[in-house]
Amino acid sequence: MIKTEKVLHLKSSRGRKVRVVREHYLRELVPCYSSLCQAECANEGKVLSADVTHYVVPDAGVTRDFMEILEFREIQGLVFTQTACQAVQHSRGRRQYNRLRSLLKDPRHDCVLFANEFQEYSYCPREKGEPQDKWQTRCVYQAAVWYHDHLAGLKPVVMITEDQGAVAEYSSLNCGVYVLSTLEYLRTFWPELQAAHELYGSIAQALRERGNEGTEREFAEHLPAEVLEAGIKSGRYTQGTLNVNKHRAQHEAFVRFDGSSNKNSELDSDVLVWGGKNRNRAVHGDMVAVELLPKGEWRGRTTALTEGQGEEKGEESQGQPMPTGRVVGILQRNWRDYVVTFPPREETQSQGRNSLRILATPWDQRIPKIRISTHQADTLQDHRVIVRLDSWDSTSLYPNGHSVRVLGRAGELETEVQTILIENCIHIAPFSEAQLREMPASSPERPWTVDPAEVVTRRDLRDTHLVFSIDPRGCEDVDDTLSVRSLPPGPQGPRLELGVHIADVTHFVKEGTLTDLEARARATTYYLADRRYDMLPAVLSADVCSLLGGVDRYAMSVMWDLDAQTLQVNRVWYGRTLIRSSYQLYYEQAQALLNGEESIEKTMEDHKLSHLIEALETLTQVARHLRAQRDQGGALELEGVEVRAQLDEDKNITALVPRQPLEVHETVAECMIYANHWVARKIQERFPQQALLRHHPPPRQEFFTQLQDSARALGFTIDTRSNKALADSLDQAVDPQDPLVNRLLRVMATQAMSNALYFSTGACPVDQYYHYGLALDRYTHFTSPIRRYADVIVHRLLTAAIAVEEGARPAKASASNKELEEMAQHINNKNRAAQHAQKVSMELFQCLYFRDKDPETAECCDAVIYAIRTNGVLVFIPQYGLKGALYLRNREGQVVRVSQDGRCVWEAGSLQRSLDHVSTTTASGTSTFRLFQHVTVRVSVQTSRCHADTLHLELVSNRAHRAPEPPDRTPRAAPPQGTRGRSQLVQEVVRQAEEALLQAEEKKGRVSELSKEEREFRQSKTPNLYSLLEEVREQALLDLTACGAVGGGPDLGTAARPCATSA
């Protein structure tokens, strides 16, 4: 047992002063975590390196206010004291403290925590009447002295503080322990670290300004935390996340509840927070407590569309009154880094001091303007700058912030792309030297080869199996390959062996290595419209892990022993293998082979080619069968709008091309879904508490309202009670005249979906494991470890599961449920950010594409109306996969009238809206716009200095646009709509027939071969969710929310959710 010492602490709680006595145990052996330690401390984990010139100990004030500077990776040898950490926790809250903790855990940062208050000799009790900050400084100094003595004076120790008194008091007490102010420290030791100096200046300025605020109160004070907590418990206040309406950022915000905390059962919708006063300094994303206003003051959400920067007009069209409230307190700030644009000189106002306080406009419209004090206002005008928020007092109209880093001039491509990354909290630094050193060596001259010792431990499939891969053209990171062969017949009849072989990334990326940590932080590969940021270094993702054709590679395999007739699974084998991919096909090529166009590969030997074609055919058949099985379970076929930008060498957009689906996409996708499903079953069975799975919760019924209303306008009924019913009714909602109708309805259904999410099995009851979209009871991600970190975790789990089964205990205990759940959250967040960034970057390129065109000559295109608003309609442009708002009333109150020849003119008049059409009445006549009517629109770009550019649509004619596409511009455009519609119809019929067939056959217990005709007819099937993600890999656009986001008020339900479903 260890000696004890007792200390008195004074503490007050519940407003009353209470004297609380706490014990405090001290010990002699507190690890110092320095590699120079002479006393043999029990240093486990991260230790400070010995090759720095000094160690630096920041005091509590510095840690609290200047943590951002200490986060620079260049500053090494940091010793945080426990005193300073606790000060951060007390004064800055959990968020900041967690940031400090993750800094301490991050092995890339050379910093440690020294528990000085538990060390017998470095602890100093607080004296009577001593102010807290003085005591903290004394503690930190004492700790610095102890640290210096503990290391026998081998390293000088520098303590940095902002307290000039402390500098004077302590600096000459001990030799070897220096006390400096932060500025002096930076000047002396890091004169070349310009960024740190600038950051210091900007933070210090912001701190100085904070002191002298006006006294006039602009907002009501927030209630103290205890009152809020009690109020939430009693049901008086409600807790939720604040969502600001992007299109009415000044006025409209909604509070969405987290399901569990909602005690008020009658509140099943969001709460509206109207106006800046009621919002009371809450910023988008904050966790707030709201109090409901009396029913008399309730308001409806605005249903009119607003034009870009349209002014609010007196007369507002409102929907049904909904619960309205005001923010009484903020439970958790959720501030991140924001990108702002500095205004040009004429707009800045001088404050009469030597510095300027500037109101900068954030890029994100939902964030209020931020007040920044800076000396650099002149040089920074029209630049985009990263800022962080510091505070928002009740006396100030705007929040205070400080600048962190300059991105560049607004409007330049590089700046804009960086802006997108920052706004989505994606921070990507190039891979470091140390990380690259961990990589296996491989160069064109001396390619990487397999290790003979490793070969013995793996199942060798090089000679026995015909393995091939099908990927997009030009794909470098091949992470999945397939194989199929027939086995000797068993007792039940002939058997097939289907194999899915996935790149064995975990063999190269061991848990806890620097590369692993970096990959974990990135969580996914980021695909923007014109570039990508890999999760793993290129040597792995494009070479050593990539399952390229003709070379030996390690793989992780799942192999099914199937009955050739019924496709019943006899046995499943999981394990590590060694493969050599024979063919590296791309989709179009594979499809051509299937179709019998043999002209493509002359180089292949004939007998091998026939083998390949045979395998492809078997595979297609298996995939169809699997798909039919899932369809019976209720798998949804959803539609996203996919367009990809074709770029030339200078990264200029040459065309926006919609994707064309092939059946082979689906074949590959189906095999991958099957593999994911079986792996999910396996790991869930083996680790019921800590397996990483992916689920897709059923959507909330109220989100289907728009879909149902639109469908009703056309006379279809959509049954949304279950996924099977939804899939069936979507299949029936086909308008023979207009194939787009079905497509649009599917898009709307997709929007209503919630996101599929990763989760840890211990954190969720079993009945919530269900994947709604795919209609599977267990699902995970296993097949793309090169570009998704979740797959890497699943690979590790699967390896551990195999090891357990073979009797060997896993070398390390797998992550606990809690860690895994945290990890799942992290990956979910990153995925969302990645999708959003991709979408925004695609929009950026769309704008660039349309900007380069001459607005006058820009040709018009066809659009379909899919939703009705009070002053306009929402349209979808199939040619570009665009969605946007079309205004029928302009700012002067004029409305569109359609003349006899279909041309449109603006005239004074009125606008009438009903459920399925909107009509404009003017002196010269009435014109009506119906749901799903085709119109012609012209696309132009609306530029904006502070925000992203947006596209503007203008009505040209109320008839469908018939001009044929010039063939040279969009070489791979979709086939003419008519044929597509027909083929879709055929496909529906065929599939229903097939399902019926399958049901009948299941009764009889046998399955007959599908006829060749059926195979041919089915080939234009629309892509499912999985193949959509495959498209993402080709940098295509997964734009599922745009229409909701443009819509403004009424469909906030969808607009507020950052991204839509994906499998």
Binding site: R22, E23, E229
Partner: protein
């Protein structure tokens, strides 16, 4: 809301202990001359006083007399000044009645009551200062008092609490840890045979973790028993030295 961090990343608890370390235990036996047996114990800042009278004839209602063994009568109370806020604590409130019952059950399991048929043993325990683990302090104090009274027992009864934070079992919770909202398990053990005299747990706990938590509590109880044994031996030495003179 933002709860305090009960276990830091470095493995320290709020008061500087590691997860398995106990608070400092100090105890004295024979603090009162009038009583048959008495003891005082400090477990960290939790301080308890125990007094034992008996065995004597049954003074309560006659009907309670047992023919084959002694009746054990326990009474638990807390001083008004024992917590941070001063509070009058009348006799017989629910909490102390429950605690009395627990103590009674514990000692019925440990004391060799069948040696004293038709008699009664009174155990009175008072918490002077409360800082978490009241029950275990009471049990430990009462054990010493019973030994001081010279009443034969099967073994020491040692009690200790254990909690569960971040997948780690914590031994001997202090008040701040107990009120943190986590699980708390109280265990009274007869350490030599490993028999459990009483086990009590209030909050929810996943059944997978129960075993590790029990293990931690048992280890802690054994630690306590060592200290108690030392105290008894030292007391005996002092007493024998006095009588020897």
């Amino acid at each position: 809301m933002a709860g305090v961090e009960l276990l830091s990343d470095q493995g320290y608890r709020l008061d500087g202990r590691k997860a398995t370390e106990l608070r400092k235990v100090q105890a004295r036996m024979g603090v009162f001359a009038q009583a048959d047996g008495s003891a005082y114990i400090e477990q960290g800042n939790t301080k308890a006083l125990a007094v034992v009278y008996g065995p004597h004839e049954v003074r309560m209602s006659r009907s309670k007399t047992l023919h084959d063994r002694a009746v054990i009568n326990c009474q638990y109370s807390m001083a008004t000044f024992s917590t941070a806020e001063r509070k009058r604590r009348p006799h017989g409130d629910r909490k102390s009645t429950e605690m009395s019952l627990h103590l009674k059950q514990t000692f019925e399991a440990a004391v060799l009551t069948n040696l004293y048929p038709r008699s009664q043993i009174d155990i009175y325990v008072k918490i002077l200062q409360s800082d978490g683990g009241n029950y275990s302090a009471c049990v430990n104090a009462a054990t010493l008092a019973v030994i001081d009274a010279g009443i034969p027992m099967r073994d020491y009864v040692c009690a200790c609490t254990a909690g569960f934070v971040d997948e780690t079992p914590l031994a001997d919770l202090c008040h701040a840890e107990e009120s943190g909202g986590g699980t708390s398990l109280a265990l009274a053990l007869l350490p030599r045979g490993g028999h459990i005299a009483l086990l009590q747990m209030d909050a929810r706990l996943h059944q997978d973790h129960l075993e590790t938590l029990m293990e931690a509590a048992m280890t802690a109880c054994k630690g306590v028993s060592k200290v108690l044994d030392q105290v008894v031996r030292q007391h005996l030495q002092e007493v024998s030295a006095l009588t020897g003179e």
